[in-house]
């Protein structure tokens, strides 16, 4: 009856300058800030701006990116509500068109767990590292908050996208499960 999450051990002292890394093979939070595949400056020189708030984000444009990658079309009001209740989000703005071309967000309790949702890159801008840029920075931001349990649900065809970023599927036999009303009625 227990859901196991990776629970961080209490830090020995509250006055640490750099967060203690508890897993020897994982990069530390400090090294990660310097370790992005493409730097912010690089992105800007290519005409892309990194944004971390929903101000200036046109939700209709975002919705069209969602639809372009195959998400079901969702009510913009609900999207607004979801974004307002999202702790961390990141998006890339194309300078020329001022439209969002990449997006990712993470919900959670802001302390122990975070789940990353809605990772999208406009099909016309895929393959140039925007998705990676957004993901790396989102994970960094979560680690900076002290959240070590970062999870997501990945479609089978993009497992290869998340693996190089440090994500492992079904670690230790843990399975991601989704509630299905049809399943319940079938019983």
């Amino acid at each position: 009856m227990l859901l196991r999450g990776t629970i961080s051990n209490p830090l020995p002292s509250l006055h640490l300058k750099t967060p203690l890394r508890l897993r020897s093979y994982a990069p530390t939070a400090t090294t990660i800030t310097n370790k992005c595949s493409i730097s912010d400056e690089d992105l800007e020189s290519r005409g892309f701006l990194l944004r971390r708030t929903i101000s200036n984000l046109n939700l209709d444009h975002l919705n069209s990116v969602f639809v372009a990658v195959g998400f079901p079309k969702r009510d913009p009001e609900k999207i607004k509500l979801a974004l307002e209740n999202t702790n961390s989000l990141l998006w890339v703005e194309h300078k020329k068109t001022q439209k969002p071309v990449a997006f990712a967000r993470a919900t959670g309790d802001n302390v122990f767990n975070a789940i990353i949702w809605d990772v999208v890159v406009d099909p016309s801008y895929q393959g140039i590292g925007l998705g990676k840029a957004v993901m790396e920075r989102l994970v960094q931001e979560l680690l900076k908050k002290g959240i070590v349990n970062i999870a997501l649900y990945s479609e089978p065809r993009v497992l290869g996208f998340y693996r190089p970023l440090g994500f492992v599927a079904d670690p230790d036999g843990i399975r991601g499960m989704v509630y299905s009303r049809k399943q319940k009625k079938r019983k």
Binding site: N85, G108, N110, L152, Y153, E155
Partner: protein
């Protein structure tokens, strides 16, 4: 053969003038009369049951037990008694469900200790609860006879869900006091949590389950890896 014989046997007693009948014969025939009536009634009930079943199977409408329909549609009260039992000494124990989210962090820490979870800082526990979209709890309320209102209240179960308030919710930290496990309380707790989330129009309810509890959640309506979608963790500590 039986009934005919019986009627014949009864005939003189039933239609004839009242005579002084030997006691044994009287009770014997009464007994047989009662048996016959019972048989007729049973046969009638059996036939009726068959007929009703025939109707049910042949109707195009899905007839769900009415309690389930109204249960799902009725707004879930914030607090209610799930189970009540009377102990031999006359004390009453109630298991109370609450979605109000009022959890004493010390109680929660004690419960986490009971189930064997590693300790987490109290301040972080409190913050996690505060930042959760929904926190549901089970408390045991024990009223001793003659204790005059000094009820014993104990936290015996909890589950919480984080959410973006619109599309997705994820269930975390499901725990039931080991001495109350195996009674269906965990199942009830999650069922109520799911119902509350669905009533708030959160369509996507997810969770991550250890291999030993995948079956538990499957029985509650959860499906692992739907359409091949996999749960992934960032550098998990095995």
């Amino acid at each position: 053969m039986g009934p005919t014989y019986f009627v014949l046997y009864l005939d003189p007693w039933w239609t004839g003038p009242w005579k002084k009948i030997h006691f044994e014969k009287f009770f014997d025939s009464m007994g047989k009369f009662i048996c016959l009536i019972s048989l007729v009634i049973c046969r009638g009930v059996f036939t009726l049951a068959l007929y009703l079943r025939f109707l049910k199977e042949n109707s195009t409408e899905v007839i769900e037990p009415s309690s389930t329909l109204t249960e799902e549609e009725e707004p879930l009260p914030e607090e209610f008694v799930l189970v009540e039992k009377t102990e031999p000494d006359g004390a009453i124990e109630q298991i109370v469900f609450s979605s109000g989210g009022e959890v004493d962090v010390y109680d929660l820490q004690a419960l986490c200790d009971k189930v064997g979870w590693p300790r987490r800082p109290l301040s972080k526990l409190a913050a996690a609860l505060k930042n959760s979209y929904m926190v549901v709890t089970l408390h045991s309320l024990r009223k001793s006879p003659g204790s005059e209102g000094n009820d014993q209240k104990k936290l015996i179960g909890m589950a919480r869900a984080t959410s973006d308030h619109a599309f997705n919710a994820t269930i975390w930290d499901v725990l039931i006091d080991p001495s109350y496990q195996g009674q269906g309380l965990g199942k009830a707790l999650i069922e109520k949590l799911i119902r509350a989330l669905l009533q708030r129009d959160i369509g996507n309810i997810t969770l991550f389950a250890d291999s030993q509890v995948v079956e538990f959640y499957r029985n509650l309506g959860f499906e692992p890896d739907p359409e091949g979608i996999k749960g992934m963790f960032w550098y998990p500590k095995y």
